[in-house]
Symmetry: C2
Subunit: 449 residues, 2 copies
């Protein structure tokens, strides 16, 4: 057993851990930083669906970069097995790491519903783990299989299903609700659903999967809640993730709802020298202020920047004011993106809201060769006009259009700010200045205020 | 001579006039609105460069839409020749329009330097007018010409040159400064210049064009300030535009610097019933507060929305708080965009600023098939960290990335806000969450504060 001292110790080398290390390294160039990385090879988390289809095509093409090498930072492949808060040490099989500041960046693990736990030992049932080995195992197994059933209609399930069907697989996707239902209202989600159908994906929606039927260590069918049996040659469970907090809990750190590690707005736990960031930390929603289950690498990176610059003292007034739940994806040739609350969620939260919708084109005039339709929906508080949500579908630019809406939410702007928004417009790149969908949607929402 | 009464009269049917009409129509459904349109057929202003090349290829493909038809709004093809403020009438050749509220949206006309005025009668010298006939005349004339010289290195000149070279023309572009020099610092502008050179455009930079040499009613060469003579078969003057304010000046309206019609922040002239919007109105810069010569359809549309909803009473506190100068364009396969002030301009204005730069990829991992480099530069006040400018180059998404920066400027956000910015990131659509160029550029700028 060797003993190593480090000023800053980070457990985890996913997006949160690496960004925290990089930020800390720049903020505290005189401090020694060690990052513990559990696996030799990691995957870019949001790139995983694309290794299964033509887009990346190989697990190797989705390798997580090691981060920017910094003179005061060291990445060590080692697994923490115990954290002692009193002695300020972290122990692995071979080493005791003694630290001044500790950051938990232990990420998340696939969530598997109790009714599927037993099926996890079957050779053709997989959850979507995030290590190289997890992904490689699935990729190799499905190579020569024709039929694949995906359980789960969130982003990961939808993206994997779309990639697999492009590989000529026979794909069924099962979900209790609609496609991407948590992030889109039905009007936008139906566009996504139609594209999936056109691509030949079989949709089994509205009935939860109840049981995975098996025989001789292999699943052969999925039983839905209404008793329907769907044949299955391979089953992929894309049913979300849960905070990986076993180590933190055993160390005595307080967990919050959904089992994330409790942190304040500067990502500090109850102990001033111990931080938690990324999927393992407890989050709350920017708008509803409720605990949030949303897990996003971009949120993790933002949290990591706050933590990485707040280790020894707080430098700016506000840290991280809640997660905005800002997503994007692509289904076929069409991008879909969402930020903040949907109309459905606003209703559930008893928010008095208005919404505005506009459909135009992402180029102008619409005779520009690659012009595609662009739809924008905005959701705002009825009284103040404050923007609380938005949904976009369109060409690839939708991935950045949603970030304009996200910034409007984060900066607490109103519909009035957006109707006189100054925008760069250009025939080959954007919608027309006269019909810029964000502005038109804001105008349409204002009419209802 | 017939006499017609209308509640709201708008002179001009460009982007400003049409958006004002549409906004007024929605805000005041009981009022009668007449829009006077000078020409039967208009062009989408920023689409004009693309009729000369393969992108649109035909003047007809760049037709300006007539705006959304509204029951209380009428568009009449007629030319205003006199405005009488006292009697509240506008006179054309055949009609006296009597109004309650008047909006000048008379736009801009090509600016031609005094030294080229005489050359304008030559059959092969053209400025870039914005009517169908103006554009058609040029398009038809250059059809069978091989060599084209463009004078002016702003967006219009650069876009026309790029389209023409793709048609197999022999193109020379002349400018006293560098390519897009007003909107980009040299580091970004050089990327644009390199692409133009690769495409085979001949660059004659650093020397102003001094004289257009002609013989027998045809230009044959351009003489530069240093005496160099460049052969020219066709000359296109892309040397900017000036406010079209003859009518307003004759009516006795006050003009401001650069001859724009003086307006307050709600686009009202000195007369409470008379408004001016778009290129004919005087503008000031959002950051420097100086008068601004920037002319953009998107600014015009924003002004038109303010005016169109403020005709009978002011509805929101702030109107239009100065133009941000937010542009984008595409040169070859690469998009370039700029917002606010450049470093060069910040120096001229004696602003104590910092800047931060980052170059990454617009997809993640960078193995995604259509990944391209994305560069972002941010410029901020040194003390407050307030964002005052940004420049982006990248794939087509850059056209919307600049709008995120524009919103940050307009919302008076700081570098600190951007380092914890919540963004949607997705492999097929955006940069990585760990290396999102806006965030990284903000971090790099903060290091210098």
């Amino acid at each position: 057993m060797t003993t190593t001292y480090t000023d800053i110790l980070i457990i985890g080398a996913g997006p949160a851990g690496l960004v925290a290390a990089n930020t800390a390294s720049e903020n505290y160039p005189d401090k020694k930083i060690i990052v513990l990385k559990e696996f030799e090879k990691n995957q870019v988390p949001c790139g995983i669906p694309y290794v299964f289809g033509p887009t990346l095509g190989a697990v190797e093409k989705n390798a997580m970069p090691c981060g920017v090498p910094m003179p005061n930072m060291q990445v060590i492949v080692d697994t923490a097995i115990k954290v002692d808060i009193n002695t300020k040490t972290v122990t692995s099989a071979s080493t005791i790491y003694s630290f001044d500041k500790l950051i938990f960046a232990t990420g998340s693990l696939p969530f598997v519903h109790a009714s599927f736990q037993d099926a996890m030992h079957l050779e053709n049932v997989f959850s979507i783990g995030k290590s190289y080995d997890d992904v490689k195992r699935i990729k190799d197994y499905i190579e020569d299989k024709k039929q694949i059933t995906v359980i789960g209609t969130g982003f990961i399930g939808v993206e994997i299903a779309t990639e697999l069907v492009m590989m000529g697989k026979d794909v069924t996707i099962i979900g209790g609700g609609g496609i991407l239902e948590g992030s889109f209202d039905p009007d936008m989600a139906m566009q996504a659903q139609a594209i999936m159908q056109e691509k030949g994906i079989k949709l089994a929606l509205g009935q939860h999967a109840k049981e995975i039927k098996s025989s001789q260590s292999k699943a052969y069918a999925i039983e839905l809640c209404d008793g329907t049996l769907l044949d299955a040659q391979v089953v992929l469970l894309a049913t979300g993730y849960q905070p990986n907090t076993k180590l933190a809990a055993e160390a005595g750190l307080k967990l919050a709802r959904y089992d994330g590690i409790w942190v304040d707005e500067y990502m500090r736990t109850k102990y001033k020298d111990i931080f938690a960031i990324g999927d393992c930390s407890a989050r709350r929603d920017f708008i509803t202020r409720d605990p949030s289950k949303v897990m996003l690498a971009s949120t993790s990176a933002a949290e990591a920047r706050v933590a990485g610059s707040s280790l020894y003292s707080l430098k700016t007034l506000k840290g991280f004011n809640g997660t905005i739940a800002i997503f994007s994806t692509m289904i076929g040739e069409r991008a879909f993106a969402s930020a903040g609350v949907t109309e459905s969620r606003a209703k559930e939260e008893n928010i008095d809201f208005v919404s505005g919708f506009f459909e135009g084109f992402n180029r102008h005039p619409a005779t520009i060769p690659d012009a595609a339709k662009q739809s924008v929906k905005l959701i705002a508080m009825r009284n103040s006009g404050q923007i609380i949500g938005g949904q976009v579908s369109g060409g690839k630019e939708a991935g950045e259009v949603i970030n304009i809406i996200g910034l409007a939410i984060e900066a607490e702007l109103t519909l009035h700010n957006l109707t006189s928004l100054q925008i760069a417009t250009q025939p080959l790149l954007t919608a027309a200045p006269t019909n810029y969908p964000i502005v038109k949607a804001a105008q349409n929402a204002l009419k209802k205020c």
